[in-house]
Amino acid sequence: MKTLVLNPILGKEYRSRMRSWKSPLIISLYLGILGIITLGYYWVKQKNIFYTGFGPDVGPQIYVMLTYFQLMLISFVTPALTAGAINGEKERQTFDLLLCTRLSAVSIVINKLLASLGYIILLIIASLPVFGIVYFFGGVLLSDIGRVFIVYLVTAITFGVIGIFCSTLFKRTQISMVVSYLIVLFLLVGTIILAAFLQGIQSQPYQTSSAAFISYLNPLVALASIFPNQGQNLVNIFDFLRLGVATPGNLNQTLSPWAYNFIINGVIVIFLLLISIIRLDPVGRFSWLRKSANKDHKNAEQDQANDSGLMKGNINEDESSS
């Protein structure tokens, strides 16, 4: 019987990641930013208490704001974790060693992704105490937090896969990092601008227009549509984002925006994962699919360089630096 053991890549990634000083730093920064936002908002509210009174909606407002910021933070942390997953191994010259083990390309890609997701989940769990503040004020159910976490997870998976895909596509980590961030930026901001632009030049009602569907790519829109109880607060805080949000009043579509978002993300994830796996598989069952003469030629040059010892300089540099 096959016993359940931690995949070696997963184990190694966790060990390496938690060993470096970067992890506590990222967690501290992450929580610091969330904490400052919460306290800042609370402070502003308290300042205005004289004019508006301290209403029962403070809790939900803080909650909604926190979830948005957390989503944005996750969006920006995830590509950093995955965009160097594969080409980082290649740059470090450890990838061949990995490929000649019994680990399949599928296992390498999936476990690299899981390792990054594990870290994101750690960040989310670490943020729970900040969310706890919301409970001082009430108005938020535990199930609301659960729904939001599903959006986080879907977003983290999608952005993580985009990062991994870029890391298999580009040779250099910096390039894949930049491209991943550009894609993430497009999904977070570009889709809204594009949707607003399309809506501006179209005469159809918003819910049936292509503008609406483009906005569904945006995880912020998905998040906005998943709030069942705090929808009203969104009007105040992220009015602009409500562009694509279906509220009970205008819900004449079969699916809510978050459902569209999940479906689109699912398709993107499966598609990009497949391409990544095919690209990594040197001689396996998918290798016939990667008949790109161009890329092979580059490989040949690389082999030639290896053979002729041109890369010796790199090794020596490494040595002297270590």
């Binding site: 190694k12 060993r19 060693l97 000649c100 399949s104 290798s287 053979d307």
Partner: protein, 307 residues
């Protein structure tokens, strides 16, 4: 153990490996020699299932390389010429990671790692970070990594490149040890003399083609048939040259008290010359084959097509 048949690898118009065929018997050390860029690395990468050949086939222990890559990976231990390490892992964690990647159960890993560290003389570095090891130690660690799954065939791409003489000797000793353990080894180098010391067979490759594939003895004999002898004397150089001339040889002063003499013949002819020199009371210090003999053979066989 290994059969390679008409193996080709081309990238567009460029042919890296051209109809390469050779055999490696079980338990032997096969030296794969060729100038830089001859196709050694490409061939080894194909055998290690990291590259798909354009045509041709290869079998390791009866299994075809491209048909069952997973099975081949279990049979083969591959050490690339350039490799990196995970700098945030310790030596034992590094080996544990690769053992796990080869599907070795956790209970067996500790024993395997202990044995390998012992074999590679790295036991004292078990707790050290991989990054802190010297190049020679990293090379030995990588060799240990190839052995975690107890492969029958080892493919080592220039394992001694960039090492200092001491580390080279250590690697050579380890390879001898591995041979005595019954492993079949393919080892590449661009230095023929380095391989003749430990290999049983040598294949010389150039521009993707196998120029010679023969037992080392044959290659050495080939070099013996027309070689240069190095004769060192204390003094009386002119007299020595005269004496050799009487025997029909042409010797020249190479440097200082060393004479170089082209020689065609067998070992009894050599013995005859030594006797004659000693009888004539020439103060002979050494009489040896020139070290450059094997290099000459290598230069002759590989005509320098690849630069």
């Amino acid at each position: 153990m290994l059969i390679v048949e008409d193996l080709c690898k081309s990238y567009g118009k460029f042919v890296a490996v051209d109809n390469l065929s050779f055999k490696v018997n079980e338990g032997s050390i096969f030296g794969f020699v060729g100038p830089n860029g001859a196709g050694k690395t490409t061939t080894m990468r194909i055998l290690a299932t990291l590259l798909r050949p354009s045509s041709g086939r290869a079998w390791v222990a009866g299994e075809e390389v491209t048909a069952r890559p997973k099975r081949i990976r279990q049979l083969v231990g591959y050490m690339p010429d350039f490799f990196g390490v995970y700098d945030d892992l310790k030596v034992d964690e590094y080996l544990d990671f690769y053992s796990a990647s080869y599907g070795i159960p956790m209970q067996q890993r500790k024993k395997i790692i202990d044995e390998l560290l012992e074999l590679m003389d790295l036991s004292h570095k078990r707790e050290a970070y991989v990054d802190s090891l010297s190049r020679g130690m990293k090379q030995r660690l990588c060799l240990a990594r190839c052995l975690v799954h107890d492969p029958a065939l080892l493919i080592l791409d220039e394992p001694a490149s960039g090492l200092d003489p001491r580390a080279r000797v250590e690697v050579r000793e380890i390879l001898k040890e591995l041979k005595s353990m019954g492993k079949t080894i393919i080892i590449s180098s661009h230095i023929l003399p380095e391989l003749t010391e430990m290999c049983s067979h040598v294949g010389i490759i150039e521009a993707g083609k196998m120029v010679v594939s023969a037992p080392v003895d044959q290659i050495v004999n080939r070099s013996l048939s027309r070689q240069v002898l190095e004769i060192r004397v204390l003094d009386r150089l002119e007299q020595t040259i005269g004496l050799l001339q009487e025997m029909g040889y042409t010797a020249e002063i190479a440097e200082g008290n060393i004479l170089e003499m082209p020689f065609t013949g067998d070992q009894s002819d050599m013995n005859h010359i030594i006797k004659a020199l000693v009888q004539a009371d020439i103060p002979l210090v050494s009489f040896a084959e020139s070290k450059s003999n094997l290099e000459n053979i290598f230069m002759e066989l590989t005509k320098g097509v690849v630069q």
